[in-house]
Structure formats: C-alpha cells, structure tokens
C-alpha cells in the first residue's frame, strides 16, 4: 500500500489554497476553450503553456491538467445545448445529448453527461494511481533498445489504431521526426536540416508548432462554416440534477464497459475521440434499447462521455511513467514538462515524487472542482456563445502570435507558426492526423537517440532489438500493429469486393 501513502502525501501538496485556486482558474479557462468552437484542449493547453514557464512544475502541471478536465467538460456543454461539439471528442455526445435537450430535458442531459464523465475520469485516475508507479518500476530496467522498442510501439499503434488513413499517418509521423531533427544533433553535435537559415540552429520549438497546428489551423477550419447557435434553454434545475445522477447506477454495465474502453484507448494512443465513438458504437450494438439511440437515450450519453473522460485521464499514464503521451494534449503537456526541466519517464517517480503524486492527487480534486464549476457556470458559458466569432477569431490569432514569439523572443518563430497554421488547416481538411505529428516533434529526438545508442551498444547490429524476451515482444507487437491496416484491407478485399467504403467511415471518425 505504498501507493496510498504516496497518494496521501500528494493530497497534502494538491489541496492547498494556491493550488485549489489554480485548479479553479484552469478549469474555468478549460471550460472556456471547450465551449468555444475552434478551440480545444490541445489548443488551450498550448496557448497557456508560455505563461507557465516561470511557475513551479507542480503548479504548472496542475494548472494545465485542470484546464484539460475543464475542456473535456466544456466540450460536452455545447454538444448538448447547441448540437455544436466544442471538442472533437464530444462529437458522439451530440447524437443523443442534443435530442434529449431539445425534447425539453437539457438539465437531465447535462447532469447525466457530467455524472458519467466524472465516473470515467475517476476510473482513469484510479488506474493511474495503482499502475503508474508499477509501470515506471518496470521501465526503470529499460535500456536504450527497450526504450526504442516502446517508442516504436507507440508510433506503430498510431498507424494501426489511429483511425486515419495509414499512409497519411506515416507521412505525418515522418514529418514530425524531420522537424524534431532540425537544429543541433544531441549525439554528435553537428547542425542538421537548417535549410540555410542560421536561426534554425536552435531547432523548431514544439510550442511554435502546436500554436500553429492547433490554434491557427483549427481557426481556419472553424471560420469556413458560420456558426448559428440555436440554443435550448440553459437554465439548471437542481432537483433534476440530483435525480439524473441518482439514476446513473442503473446503467452500471454501460458505465463500466465504457470506462474500460476509455482506459484502454487512453493508454494505447487511440485517444478520447476514437474512444467515445467506439464506446457509442458498442453501446448501440449491445443495449436492449439500441434502436432508440439517436433520439435522446440515456445510455447514448453515458457511453461516449464516460469513455471520453476515461481516455483523456488515462492518457497521462504512459506520459508520466514511460514518457510517451497517449493523446495530443498529453503530448503538449509532456513538452511542457521538458521545458520546466523535468524528464518525463520512469525516473520521474524516483526523482520527482512530489510532482508525480501531487499531480495524481490533483486529478481527483480537479475533477470534483470541474464538475462543480461546470454545473455552476453552464448559463454563463452558454451566454458566451453569443459573442460573435468575428471578435474571438482575431483575439486567438494574437494569442498565438504572442505565444509563439515569447517562447524564445524570435520573430522567425512567429512566421513559422503561421506556416504551421496553413499545414494544420490542410492536414485537418484532408484527414491527416495531427496527434502523431505533435508526438513525433516532442519525442522524435529521444526515439532517435535511443536507436543510435542501441546501435552503438550492438556495434551496428539490429539483433539488439531481439536480444531478450521483453524487447522482442515490444518490437513484434509494434510490427504487428504497423501491418494491421494492411492485413485488414487484404481481409476486406477477400471477404467483400468494395473495400473503399471502409476508408470513408474511418475518415469520418478521425475528424
């Protein structure tokens, strides 16, 4: 029960007045970016990142992770009240949430969503509490070859399970790797890929990339469609809230199943979006009332919401214990960790106990704070939706420009940020996945170093990746995941002729 005493120690760090205030601030900002279409958790966290550079790492991560919880909750508010998913991961919530709200039960829909979301998040945190330090202990025995194998597995699972077109995922990943390689090579010290621009010696900071990709890129996607928010009443009836939450245990099977799906998709980099769609699909298949799905079914709200939050939370487990983020937002946070001078991975559990357990404890508290605040502020944020997009858009542009500049006081970064914006727009539009691109920018360097170190150890023989059971399993699993889409395609071609319908379905999910 070592974990529990560590956790208790974590609570003494997390439950202090300044940290509770940071949590509330983070959650409120998170709900704000979650509610505003065109901004999401990855954008919000990246926009806030430059402001955390001067903070204590624990405080900084509490602020950012609270913002993440807030964004997850905020995305559901607009899905249910306006049929506009504020987040990609709450698209599945619109299917039953909006019909229910439109039928005059907005409070039930919101309370059900928040209740099941909190349950999903709780499951995710419990998983982290008990598994994270164990995973980290295993990982402490890792050598460079094992590390490379784990990185390889993470990249391969994006290709195999990410849901986007596999070749596009590969291209996005490789571009991320190339961007990570720009600047001074950490092993040999030589300057690489500067394209003749001397200032690029310092490399491309990932904050610059995410500001452009998520901030400007999604703004460009959002500006294409004009939003006509047709709100249903956003008044909260408190008795109804308690009744809806009280009804939740009746759907225990759906809750547990969705939490399990979410945790699995969060640890493997499937991400919250894929988790919520998958959970909704499975619920519709297995529920006795499956044919009523889409008309305002309770389980149609529970399933995607639980899975969404379980995935969002458990995505932090591989980030903390292995240094491999399970979602785009986790990737951005991990970049933050590196900027604050921490080294994500198993050593974190040895060197930075306060940080790790403070964060884990703050997840428990932060989610409670988030549920309370989101319920209280639903009317306020619903009113915010009426601020015209024309005002919000230029403000977001300015935040991105200032953010990109303040990373290293470089004008070139601002120009590059705009360039990344165009790339982000094109990729979004054509269903190239952004998460693997960001992941590769953040950990591309480490993966390359691990590979080269193992090559040094083995004197250039690839046999080191099959030297023991652990590393062989990891590499084989990675290769299997890499080949999975190919195998599925071949299989589909043998079973049925029209294989093209698959890809369009997948593309829809990857939005």
């Amino acid at each position: 029960m070592d974990n529990l005493s560590e956790l208790f120690h974590g609570f003494t760090i997390a439950v202090t007045v300044p940290h509770l205030a940071l949590m509330a601030t983070g959650v409120l900002l998170g709900i704000l970016v979650g509610v505003l279409p065109g901004l999401g958790a990855p954008n919000g966290v990246s926009l806030l990142l430059p402001l955390t550079f001067g903070m204590q790492p624990v405080s900084a991560i509490i602020l950012l992770s609270s913002m993440y919880w807030g964004a997850l909750f905020g995305g559901s508010v607009t899905s249910i009240l306006f049929n506009i998913p504020g987040e990609p991961s709450s698209v599945a919530t619109t299917f039953d949430g909006y019909p229910m709200a439109r039928d005059g039960r907005p409070t039930t829909a919101l309370a059900t969503a928040f209740g099941s979301a909190a349950f999903g998040a709780l499951m995710g945190v419990i998983l982290i509490t008990f598994l994270a330090s164990w995973v980290a202990q295993v990982a402490l025995a890792f050598g460079p070859a094992e590390y490379f194998a784990v990185y390889f597995l993470a990249f391969a699972s994006f290709v195999g399970m990410g849901g986007a077109a596999p070749i596009k995922t590969v291209v996005a990943l490789a571009i991320g790797f190339a961007i990570a390689a720009i600047g001074i090579d950490t092993v040999s010290g030589s300057v690489r890929l500067t394209m003749g621009i001397d200032e690029l010696v310092k490399g491309v900071n990932f904050v610059v990339a995410v500001m452009g990709l998520f901030g400007i890129g999604e703004l460009l996607v959002a500006v294409e469609e004009e939003f006509h928010a047709r709100a249903v009443s956003s008044r909260i009836d408190w008795r109804e809230v308690f009744r809806a939450v009280g009804h939740l245990p009746r759907h225990g099977v759906a809750l547990l199943r969705s939490a399990a799906i979410g945790c699995w998709m969060g640890i493997t980099p499937g991400g919250p979006t894929a988790a919520s769609f998958m959970s909704y699909g499975i619920a519709r298949r297995f529920s006795r009332r499956g044919r009523y799905f889409g008309t305002g079914e309770v389980e149609g709200i529970i399933s995607p919401e639980t899975a969404d939050h379980a995935a969002g939370t458990s995505a932090l487990l591989p980030m903390l214990s292995l240094g491999i983020p399970g979602s785009a937002t986790a990737a951005v946070m991990m970049g933050g960790l590196m900027i604050w001078g921490l080294n994500p991975g198993p050593m974190l559990f040895v060197d930075q106990k306060d940080f790790v357990w403070g964060l884990i404890a703050s997840m428990y508290v932060g989610n409670i704070v988030a549920v309370a605040l989101v319920l209280l502020t639903v009317p306020v944020f619903a009113a915010l939706m009426r601020i015209p997009f024309a005002v919000i858009a230029p403000l977001i542009v300015i935040i991105c420009v200032v953010g990109a500049y303040s990373v290293s006081n470089s004008y070139l970064d601002v120009v590059m940020m705009l360039g990344f914006g165009v790339v982000g727009y094109l990729f979004k539009k054509l269903f190239y996945p952004l998460a693997p691109l960001v992941l590769a920018i953040v950990i591309g360097d480490k993966a390359e170093d691990a590979f080269r170190q193992s090559m040094l150890m083995s004197k250039g023989s690839l046999g080191i990746f099959f030297a023991n059971k652990l590393v062989t399993c990891l590499v084989v699993a990675g290769i299997a995941l890499l080949l999975l889409p190919l195998a599925l395609q071949l299989f589909a071609r043998i079973v049925r002729k029209p294989a093209s319908a698959r890809t369009t379905n997948q593309e829809k999910v990857s939005i």
Binding site: L193, A390, V391, P394, L395, V402, L456
Partner: protein, 160 residues
Amino acid sequence: MISRRALELATAVLTGSFGVAVVVQSLDNGIGWSSAGVESGTFPFLTGIIIVAGSLYNLARGLAPVASLARVPIAITSIELRRLAGLFVPAVIFVAAIPLLGMYVASAAYIFAVLAVPRHQSVLRSAMTAGATALALYVVFERMFQVSLPHGALAAALGF
C-alpha cells in the same frame, strides 16, 4: 472553388518537397555507419525517404479516381475561400507589421481593422476592443510575466 483532389495533390506535393529537402540536407551530415556510430544524417535521411514515398502514394491516390474522393468533390467553396482569406490575409499583414509597428500597436490596429472595416462592430466599439487588447497584452506580459514583446522600429524611432 477548390476540389478535394486539387487540395490532396497540393498537400502531397508540399509534403513531398519537404521530404526531398530533408533528404538532400541530411546527405551533408553523412548517412550510414562511421566509427562514431550511426552518422547524424541517417535518421533524417530515412524519415525523408519515408515522407517522399508516402507523398508519392498520396499523390497517386489523389490522381486515381477513387470512390471515396469522388464523394466529396469540392473541398472549399468560393464562399468558404473568401472567409478563409478574410481571416488569414489580415493575420499575415499583422505579422508582417510587427517588426515595424511593434506588438502592441500592430495588434491594436489589427483588431480595429478586422472589426471596423467589415462593419462587424461600430467604429467606437472596435476602437475600445482594440485598446483593451493592447492594454491587456501589456499588463499580462510586460508587467505580470516580465516578458518583453517587440516594441518595433516605430517605438525606437520615437525614443521608447
């Protein structure tokens, strides 16, 4: 109007040329095995090759009339294109003006221009929003977080 196919092709060409640039540049660093281990150009060289190969695949798929592409023939309509330009062009001008005007003046002018010129808001309200933005930037960055934003050639000329 821009078709989905044209957009796919343009993106594939864009990623492909980035890949070629990476391949060419990494050759300068040396690829393969040397006495000091794997040479520093090797990894970028391989990623460059993967980018080029993947882009060629996407290019070929974009050229071939595949059912999934034919279903969404138009990616960006002319109205959407106008909205995109309406957001992006002022943003580019804003960024271009920063070295001259400095962050504060440029962002205030930018906000004022995008709100008042298309008549989204009245001139007075636009001016107020613009002023408030610049002030907020100054207070948050220059005062609270001690981050100096560029003041620009204009401020230098005026002696700030």
